[in-house]
């Protein structure tokens, strides 16, 4: 691939310098710390859309969550509880989520084909089976590209995950590194975000002015997109730095922190909300881990216990801030878990019949689409794949999934042309 093919000759590139100069103006709207107040967030909400994916890493059990089968030989010991939606029951480990059910749509007929962590993750995040010859971008990079604004302060694609549970991901592929996920490890700000000790604001500003001056002179005389991209990257780092407060959970009302919980996932989900409010287009928050081959039930008590309350708190917060209608929320894993309980009280990998939950922008809350049989071993009604989900995300956001990207002038459909949106859960 030739260097910079995504930037050259594109409206994106030509607009960037103007956008850079304009960014300072945009920052003023957002207040002195560059951070959105609830009122300003409401304003933003009217025009911008954003995405939150909660990734339950390892493969959450659909039988312990969205599609319980109590009293069957695959159901396990947990009960199904009623929810705010009459006729819809979910697992007893999600009592707070049950109260939010009017906002949540369930897809219970998912067949994602591959019961493998790596391949399953790729399938679920790219909306396609892996193909030779093309690496498809994740929904995060696609969202950042299609929904992001030029010169926006914060990076468009952020991944929050616990330390030791992830790494740098090649998730933007041909869309380019601008849309690749920025890792936020353990909820901490990106490494080296803050000025090193001994460097005053004044000294930093001064040295940066000289850097900028030299770079501008150089760029002007060489007239290359690459030099501009390089200079712009410093401007973006500075913009992120000016919003460094977004990473500081202690800036929240302690009551809010308590509602999400002080455990890792609670804090990370709260950070995710703050990132979305500050203008990040797509945030993925990973919760580790659900790969319960051994003692599936005990571990789901613990992990879903960590998920349930903050998830409900998040939906409430988004609604309170008027952001729920413009934020697509998806709860997914790379796969589900076997209906068959193994001899160590575990459930193993499973892709043939499992569930995903959605809420927010463009989603019909309370809708349930797809059915599995009594034991959960097969989809009996409205089977869908990750491609259908991918179309659904884009339609929910008001985007057209039948269009193409054109890396290197080669048309690549944004979503799998063999699939289409699950209209039953779209508004």
């Amino acid at each position: 691939m030739p260097a910079c093919s995504y930037a050259c000759h594109s409206a994106n590139h030509r607009a960037s310098r103007r956008a850079f100069l304009g960014a300072a103006g945009a920052a003023a709207v957002l207040g002195p710390a560059g951070f959105a107040s609830p009122a300003a967030a409401r304003e933003l909400a009217k025009t911008q859309k954003r995405v939150l994916v909660i990734f339950l890493a390892g493969g959450v059990s659909q039988l312990e969550t969205w599609d319980p089968k109590p009293g069957t030989d695959t159901g396990g010991p947990f009960a199904a509880i009623p929810t705010a939606v009459p006729g819809t029951r979910i697992g007893e480990l999600l009592p707070h989520t049950a109260k939010q059910m009017k906002r949540i749509a369930l897809v219970r007929g998912l067949n994602s084909v591959s019961p493998d962590h790596g391949i399953g993750e790729k399938i679920m995040l790219t909306g396609r089976k892996p193909e030779a010859g093309v690496e498809y971008p994740h929904i995060g990079a696609v969202s950042a590209k299609l929904l992001g604004a030029d010169g926006q302060a914060m990076p468009g694609h952020v991944h929050v995950f616990p330390a030791g549970a992830g790494g740098r991901s090649q998730d933007a592929t041909f869309l380019g590194p601008k849309f690749a996920s920025v890792p936020v490890v353990g909820g901490k700000p990106p490494a080296d975000l803050f000025r090193p000790a001994g460097l005053t604001d004044e000294a930093d500003r001064q040295r940066d002015d000289l850097r900028q001056k030299l770079s501008d002179k150089f760029a002007k005389s060489r007239r290359s997109a690459a030099t501009e991209a390089y200079t712009e990257s410093f401007a973006q780092a500075e913009r992120v730095f000016r919003k460094a407060d977004v990473f500081d959970i202690s800036k929240e009302d302690p009551k809010t922190v308590a509602r999400y919980g002080t455990h890792d996932f609670g804090r990370h989900l709260l950070l995710g909300r703050r990132l979305l409010e500050s203008g990040v287009t797509y945030v993925k928050v990973s919760h580790s881990n659900y790969d319960t081959h051994h003692e599936n039930f005990d571990f789901h008590i613990e992990q879903l216990g960590e998920f349930d309350r903050p998830f409900a708190a998040l939906l409430d917060d988004l609604a309170d801030r008027g952001m729920l209608d413009s934020t697509l929320v998806v709860v997914m894993s790379e796969m589900g878990r076997t209906p068959k309980i193994n001899d160590r009280y575990g459930r193993d990998h499973w892709s043939a019949a499992w569930s995903v939950a959605l809420a927010g922008c463009g989603i019909k809350g309370g809708a349930v689409v797809g059915k599995t049989n009594a034991g959960g071993t097969a989809v009996t009604d409205r089977e869908v794949g990750s491609g259908h989900l991918f179309h659904t995300y884009l339609r929910a956001l008001g985007l057209n999934p039948t269009k193409n990207f054109y890396p290197n002038e080669r048309p690549i459909p944004i979503a799998d042309p063999k699939a289409d949106a699950i209209t039953e859960i779209l508004l």
């Binding site: 010859g133 090649q170 080296d192 001994g198 850097r211 030299l214 770079s215 390089y230 990257s233 780092a237």
Partner: protein, 541 residues
């Protein structure tokens, strides 16, 4: 002389040269003639040849993988001898830095930062450096890479191309095509390439047939695995586009060439060592053993062409066929005659890498300035009117940063008499590793073009490694500058970091910056940073 006449005159000269077969004209002159012929008004529109400052920085980066020290730059700039550029080129080609630079480039070309599982990094580095220091002919080098089976410890590093891909046949096939034949055949695994008529599924499987019988012995995970081969296993393929599901078959063949003649064996005689539990089989006839010869054969024109184009791209910042790995009739070279010439001459030179590199860098085309002339409204990407910018590789960036800030000098001083290149490299290894960690491509991914991710920018802006280089400490650049008067300091600063004198404006900026500063060394530390973080440093221009 009116522009049109000049253009006509140069065309006439070119015609005369090629018609007369005047072989005495050095290659670099013929390069320039063909480049000039490739654009109307070339002489008028093209930027002038780069000034000494730009040239010395560029040639050091390209041939030594680092910027010149201030002293080396000063010496070159002050030198008044007319042939100094050629002298410097020859000196750099003879120096160990050349082998190190080429080893770094070809490590990434051949291995794409894959983990070192079966051939340790040190052994591989050593092998590559030795290859380029000895100036092993390129075809010999490639034959070593494709014929080593890993059993002989002396030649095992050469087998890394196969071994550290776990000899996964499809991966090896794709990379054989990409690296050595300039063909990205990935799509052709499943069907004829939908857009490139020239890349056929039969081509893909013809390559695969060389390696499909080979496997790692005793298994793919053993760190000491070697390459073994069975005597059977034929390649068939079906196109996913073909509704009739017709099955194709092929023996080993280079794209566009005939399949190899293969011997037949009586049943029971296919092996010299028959396969058995824990026994490495040795077939009487090895398909893989024919790969090296087939790839580098004069009957496989793609080999020499891709090699020449790759070296051109490395030095000029853009291949004559661009991208290098997409050579096909639908993507013709920008200067077909030039590419043919380079190909022919490279082969005729017995694939002498150093010779070709030398000829390329002696050309005016290579030495063109990168600053766009004011009068030039539009800079076409492929006409070489202006030198292309090349982002520094992670290694170049690291070594240049260490040199610019005085870290290399400090290391040399610390080692004193024991300052061999190996010792110096060892001392700088942590800095190189840090830059690699942030700027290198992901394993198995191409590493071309500039990336500017947030973590890279923050590494430069606030990271500890860069700060430790720039901040004044005893004997480094910032420390030395602080002891000089402003004017001299500004010049020394720009020479050390950007390999050029400071302009009057820049001197004023430096003076202003240190004027209000609490401490001079701290102020100069930040100035060193500012220059090192600027676009002018980030690119090889």
């Amino acid at each position: 002389m009116p522009a049109r006449c000049r253009a006509v005159a140069s065309v006439v000269v070119v015609l005369a040269l090629s018609a007369g077969g005047f072989a005495a004209e050095p290659l670099h002159a013929r390069i320039d003639a063909l480049i000039a012929a490739g654009h109307p008004n070339y002489a008028k529109e093209a930027a002038p040849v780069a000034g000494d400052a730009e040239f010395v920085r560029r040639i050091y980066l390209d041939l030594a993988g680092t910027i010149p020290s201030a002293a080396e730059a000063r010496a070159f700039l002050d030198d008044t001898s007319p042939g100094k550029r050629a002298t410097l080129i020859d000196a750099l080609l003879a120096a160990p830095g050349y082998a190190r630079r080429m080893a770094q480039v070809f490590d990434v070309v051949l291995m794409e930062r894959r983990p070192d599982a079966k051939v340790p990094r040190a052994a591989w580095d050593d092998y590559l450096r030795t290859t380029f220091a000895k100036n092993t002919p390129y075809d010999v080098f490639v034959r070593e890479l494709l014929s080593a089976d890993g059993t002989d410890p002396k030649t095992r590093p050469a087998a890394k191309f196969f071994l550290d891909r776990n000899l996964e046949p499809n991966l090896v096939t794709r990379d054989l095509g990409r690296v050595f034949l300039g063909r990205n055949l990935t799509c052709a695994q499943c069907h004829d390439h939908p857009h490139v008529g020239d890349y056929k599924q039969a081509d893909y499987y013809g390559l695969l047939a060389f390696v499909n019988r080979s496997f790692l012995f005793p298994n793919a995970t053993a760190a000491t695995a070697v390459i073994a081969e069975k005597a059977d296993g034929d390649v068939t393929f079906v196109s996913v586009f073909d509704k009739t599901k017709a099955v194709g078959a092929t023996g080993p063949r280079m794209p566009g060439a005939k399949p190899l003649d293969e011997p037949k064996f009586d049943k029971g005689k296919e092996y010299t060592t028959a396969p058995a539990k824990d026994v490495k089989p040795v077939p009487a006839y090895s398909r893989r053993a024919r790969l090296a010869a087939a790839v580098t054969s004069p009957d496989n024109p793609a080999f020499a062409r891709t090699a020449a184009n790759r070296l051109w791209a490395q030095l000029l910042g853009r291949g004559l066929v661009n991208p290098v790995e997409n050579d096909h009739p639908g993507n013709p070279p920008s200067h077909p005659e030039l590419l043919d010439l380079l190909t022919k001459e490279f082969a005729a030179s017995q694939y002498d890498v150093k010779w070709l590199v030398r000829e390329i860098v002696l050309s005016r085309t290579y030495q063109r300035a990168s600053e766009v002339p004011a009068a030039l409204a539009d800079v076409p990407a492929d006409r070489y009117l202006v030198a292309n910018l090349k982002p520094l590789s992670p290694e170049q960036f690291a070594y240049a940063a260490a040199e610019a800030t005085g870290e290399t000098g400090l290391a040399r001083t610390a080692l004193a008499a024991k300052a061999t290149d190996a010792a110096l490299d060892a001392k700088l290894a942590p800095v190189v590793a840090a830059f690699r960690g942030v700027f290198a491509g992901r394993p198995g991914e191409p590493e071309d073009g500039l990336t500017t991710t947030l973590d890279q920018t923050l590494f430069l802006k606030n990271g500890g490694v860069v700060r430790a280089l720039t901040v004044a400490k005893a004997g480094n650049l910032a420390d030395r500058l602080a002891k000089l008067p402003d004017d001299a300091a500004a010049d020394a600063l720009f020479l050390a970091v950007l390999t050029r004198p400071a302009t009057a404006d820049e001197k004023a900026d430096v003076a202003a910056a240190v004027k209000g500063a609490a401490t001079r060394p701290a102020a100069f530390g930040e100035l060193v940073w500012a220059l090192m973080a600027s676009g002018e440093f980030r690119f090889n221009h």
